[in-house]
Amino acid sequence: MSGIAPTATRPAPRGGGGSAQTLTSGPRRGDLVFSGVVRAAAIFLLLLMAAIAGFLVFRATGALNANHANVATYTGQWAPDDTPAKFGIGSLAWGTLVTSVIAIVIAAPVAIGVALFISQYAPRRLAQVLGYIIDLLAAVPSIIYGLWGILFLVPHMQGASQVVGDVLGWIPLFDTNGPLGRSVFTAGVILSIMILPIIAAISREIFLQTPREQVEAAYALGATRWEMIRLAVLPYGRRGVGSAIVLGFGRALGETVAVAMVLSTTYNFVTKWLQSGGNTIAANIALQFGSAFKIGQGALIASGLVLFVVTFLVNLLARRITGRADIPKDERWSLLSVFRPGRRAAAHMESSYDANAADVPDREGTLEARDEPQEVAADDTAGRARPHRAAHGAVGDSMLVSPSLPRRIRSSLAGGMTVGTFVLALLPLISILWLVVNNGRHAMSPSFLTHSLRNIDDSQFGGGVYHAIIGTLEQSGLATLIAVPIGILVAVYLVEYGRGVLATAVTFFVDVMMGLPSIVAGLFILSMWILGLGQHANGFAGALALTILMLPVVIRSSEEMLKLVPDSLREASYALGVPKWKTITKIVIPTALPGIVTGVMLGVARVMGETAPILLVVGYIQNINVNPFSSDQGQATLPTVIYNTYASPEHASNDRTWAAAFLLIVIIMVLNIIARLIAWWKKPGRA
């Protein structure tokens, strides 16, 4: 508390337009420095993105010029290295959209159900544990999803697809007259499982932040739990959940290995979603990178550029739909409430915490009007204006006494459905974990943790992954050290300072970064850092590539969490004369810390399972190398061990694949728990 001048600022919520102004003096030095730092972080991010985009364009141009086929419509073989070079990206983009849309249609409702169950229905103590269990899905590396896909899901999807086809076969999309199973439908299902934890975790954190006043106000009105959720929790979290879905969608767009493994690739515009065949941009990169020479690599990068653009457009569309761009919170509420009385009730609860008696009839009407489950979906996701439905019945009396039986039944049904979604989300997790544990137990032993793979050939049992554990921890540790401070600073910039072109640009590019295929991040570091600047291929280069992949997850999730910090906290702090930068570092960030930690751990989980960029910029070795800055040796990581052992025909080698996967999941989970314990320990108001 250095300053004495009272910061009688307007309760400038996020984006109060630069540093806080005081009535008596100019901006304080602390505030100037802090706003400079966060702005620098934002500018750094923009420069990084500009560099990546420039790199993509540069590398793609050569291949696009060499292409003798129409890149948008060509549906023949992927043959960029042939003479004449031929490849098409249009059909890949189409397949990418189809699989991602299928994924989001499945994942979004389930994830929201899971988040509601954990945040609203499950007993508080149990809720934390249940949350971690769903987070485990994020700890499963891509390649394991792929293996589970071909070993378990594809055979089952053949039957399931037939059932769907029997019912909907008259729609050409669901024609089943051909081999089934290795289809975009299956790929969509796998993707939906992979993105579910991201959406569920962020939604959960957001739902947990619902101001207690709103919840209590709803209950005070006699709302059932489900009505309370619809009145308070869902409206409050709507925008954040929308962002979480966009985040998940971006993740689905960029997923490589798992899709590559389950899809039977074809290069046509896939129109029969249940039949084997289809391809996505990211999967095609994973499949073709291994045989791509110069133009081939350029062609893959060109497809990455298209993915970039697709991600960009999807985000633009999502923003239009959720209307989240730059509307200050209060205005947004009032805008919405023009069309939707239901929102006004909730908005009132938020802004004026007293239950104003005069408002009661309106709220009652709202409750009744919104008491129809089928409306919820349309209402809450589409977010468009709906007519005032309050007309048909305000039953004030009954509400004040106790909820009527149908309303209680509805509430129980809704609760039951959220339990159902949780169980549904658990099924693949159990199936995957069973597969990993069952196959991983053969190679798992104490010496597996303490030995390297040096001098172990494919057919030999024994050896271990000590060297890979070291590499994994060091590289993702370094990446976390770089990405988390930058990420949080950028998020702070966006939430507390960001206005205008810079903020809009940063927000957009962060979204686009989500869909960046990981190989592209690897190629970028290889070209710029290793070949361009003459640095060594080592663990640190890997950490830099991982940083690029981790940043968007950290920024976006931190951003959402910072936005949820009630303005009243900021206002209270300003009122006490605390400078803005201290308010942010001492009040805002600590309050949002548990949510930020969740986001960071999602980011860590994502990069710990990364294979492709590590293979490119770190390499793969079988002996121990503890030095990530080594000048003559790379490092092994658990994913690269998995990658290099799973393709072997030898069972001894394959056993190590599963054991390494098991270990990777355990490590991510343990780190998760440690991080949460720290967050809990640091949380203000812990008693």
Binding site: R182, G290, H451, S452, A647
Partner: protein, 370 residues
């Protein structure tokens, strides 16, 4: 840091060997001449230091074993790594000086040669065929354990012209065998691969009418389903009744899949054995121009005991201009690859050895590296 090292160990000398698992030579009907006992070799000239190589996954299993043998003999100061990133990234990394040598399913193409040469300074980038392999046609037909398939029939199957196992063409190849009325599901590689290139080359060169598309690393046949990697193809064939696919023989063996006798140019059905593959390989014309050692297979060779679906994987290495600190180890290791000691272990690992004259020719190339 030292403390960290002390926790873990690179010493795996006590690890048990599985005895080559169920390995490959048995199913290949092969006579493996050498014993695969590791590190017994006098062929190894040791050198210390770190070598990093990457590329083709097709030769990865063999290279891993040779690395183990070499390091076991030479001790803890010798570290060689092979990163199975694929032929494309391997060659690219070699060109960018990120790999000391590359493994590739193909010799360097004319368009790649100048850039690769540039990396070698005064020298040239050589393509040296070192680790040959054999491609199995795997099938999954209940109660059929012996199957003949001519190149022409295979061409029709892999172009979706034949869709049932009891088709007349297949029946003609297999007199007396009861074939089921089962739909054929063909599986091919969905990633680009030397295996696809060489198998499509065999079909196209042997049965141009029924498989008219030229060889390509992207599977050029029409129809069928793609799977990632030989592993994926073998797994799909194993789990699908009526399936047929192609992969290196070790994948057929480890998945306990039956392999077909395939037709050669003379219409003979040749069983998949290592000697049969070696016989075909011996007939290949070798192009040694420019210091390379590049195999051109003679698909017209029609002996009863020459199995025509083979491939050769190459090492891409600089003839001169190699980093002097790494040269002894590079020469030492590559020389070991071409030694009869290493080559004789190949059949046990699911590969084919070079003939002794080919071995000495390749060894001469590696000895001359500078």
């Amino acid at each position: 840091m030292a403390g960290l090292t002390a926790c873990g160990s690179d010493n795996n000398s006590s690890s048990s060997s599985s005895g080559g698992s169920s390995s490959t030579s048995s199913a290949a009907g092969g006579s493996s001449t050498g014993s695969s006992s590791s590190g017994s070799s006098s062929a190894i000239t040791c050198a210390n230091g770190t070598l990093s190589a990457q590329g083709s996954t097709a030769q990865q299993q063999a290279i891993n074993t040779f690395i183990k043998n070499y390091q076991t003999k030479c001790g803890n100061s010798t570290n060689i790594s092979y990163n199975g990133t694929g032929s494309g990234p391997g060659v690219t990394a070699f060109t960018q000086k990120q790999a000391d040598f590359a493994g590739s399913d193909y010799p360097l193409a004319a368009s790649q040669q100048p850039q690769a040469d540039q990396r070698c300074g005064s020298g040239k980038a050589l393509s040296v065929g070192t680790v040959p392999g054999v491609i199995a046609v795997m099938y999954n037909i209940p109660n059929v354990s012996k199957l003949n398939l001519s190149a022409s029939t295979l061409g029709k199957i892999f172009n979706s012209k034949i869709t049932k196992w009891n088709d007349a063409a297949i029946q003609t190849d297999n007199p007396g065998v009861t074939l089921p009325d089962l739909t054929i599901q063909t599986f091919h590689r969905s990633d680009g691969s030397g295996t696809s290139y060489n198998f499509s080359n065999y079909l196209n060169k042997t049965a141009p009418t029924d498989f008219p598309t030229a060889a390509n690393k992207q599977w050029p046949g029409s129809g069928g389903q793609g799977q990632q990697g030989s592993k994926g193809v073998a797994q799909a064939v194993q789990s699908t009744a009526g399936a047929i696919g192609y992969a290196e023989v070790s994948y057929a063996t480890s998945n306990h899949l039956n392999t077909a006798n395939i037709g050669n140019a003379a219409g003979k059905f040749v069983p998949l054995t290592v000697p049969n593959a070696a016989n075909f390989l011996n007939q290949a014309k070798v192009d040694t121009s420019g210091g390379n050692y590049v195999f051109n297979f003679d698909y017209t060779y029609a002996a009863d005991d020459a199995y025509p679906a083979v491939l050769v994987t190459y090492e891409i290495v600089c003839s001169s201009g190699n980093e002097s600190a790494k040269l002894p180890e590079l020469k030492g290791f590559l020389n070991y690859l071409s030694s009869s000691d290493a080559q004789s272990q190949l059949p046990n690992l699911g590969y084919v050895s070079l003939s002794s004259s080919q071995q000495s020719a390749v060894a001469a190339i590696y000895s001359g590296l500078s």
